[in-house]
Symmetry: C3
Subunit: 158 residues, 3 copies
């Protein structure tokens, strides 16, 4: 199949990231070309574990890097409080059904060669350098994102 | 018009569901073909009223089914607290302007023959069986969603 | 470049509005045609400063107009509480990196001639009249939005 999907992953919520990565993996399994552009909170999904660097960070950037979850499994739900449903409950339900975790889907995406891009401006504002991000990730501009999106058959903002 | 719109309804928020269903109804009135794929919290929009089944549900699935709003009019806003604006206020403003409710727009979508699909993986995780969902809803995979989305002129993630 | 992007700006969150307006400005700089359709909370982005009118507003509409931020710089983040990161911190980080504010990007969009549309139904429900919105904004229906979106190469729901 000669089709292409482009996802702009703005959210850093566990459930939304799960949705985005499930779609990305499914599309790649159908032989679609898939790109994900991580911006704003989405950057929290592609940090290298234990890759945090303190040098060259301002006080706010250090605080931000330290206060946000370093392990993607610790990211919050977009709806923590919907009728009291907590994230623990969702994870239990996923486990009961042998559903893969967010980490599994991210590894799948990396192994399958899904194109991973990080938003340059977001990286600058949040103080993330390229060597703090997963090796497969390339830092690109909003215009690079747009060029990729224009060529895609499906574009989603998540 | 030989055009097609595909909506991925991830959210279970009253206001976002309203936006999605207004677009779906409007597109159908313009003779566009319209599909909606309900995933994650979006499943809360297409439960059969009084259709809940306890059998075959795990403890967490029972809790989830019981704790989440059974009537779609009871779904929360995405911005409950924006400047203190509550949902009651939005509903009053809608009523003053004789705007249809979410229930009206959902009925409209069903009557107009808009294609309704539920995400298989989400149903499994949340423990919803096909007979708990509205009759018009078909349970399909993420790949089925993607096939439908590829053929569409407009794709939105809501 | 003979390409076109259409954004449905549903959100009134500072960070999401920033993402939408950065994309819109970037696309316009690449000579793409760009339209933004502001609906629901998105209307809060295009109010005329000091343009509020009390006449013809119901009690709820007056309350709504007064309780919501009149200056777009006062709009909240979509993730106020993610790990305690507050909006002040994001603004400090933006300033450190000499990143433009939301106001700058909105001005840029207006100056560049990006097409600005407001959702008619949302305006009616929230009680906003055309003269309370920025001069460049035209009030149109959901069907007008759909016609514009169909002709676009990229459609995003933000």
């Amino acid at each position: 199949m000669d089709k292409k999907m482009n996802i702009l992953m703005f959210s850093g919520d566990y459930d939304k990231a799960l949705a985005g990565l499930i779609l990305a993996n499914s599309a790649k399994e159908m032989d679609m070309e898939v790109s994900i552009f991580f911006a704003f909170w989405g950057l929290l999904l592609i940090r290298k574990p234990n890759g945090a660097r303190e040098e060259n960070k301002s006080t706010y950037e250090k605080l931000f890097a330290n206060m946000t979850p370093k392990n993607i499994e610790d990211l919050p739900l977009s709806k923590m409080n919907l009728a009291g449903l907590g994230k623990k409950m969702l994870l239990e339900m996923m486990e009961e059904n042998h559903a893969p975790t967010l980490t599994d889907f991210l590894k799948g995406a990396l192994n399958k060669g899904i194109k991973m891009m990080a938003c340059k401006l977001s990286c600058e504002i949040m103080g993330f350098s390229e060597d703090e991000l997963l090796e497969q990730v390339e830092i690109v501009t909003a215009q690079d994102y747009l060029k990729d999106a224009i060529e895609s058959d499906i574009q989603l903002f998540i």
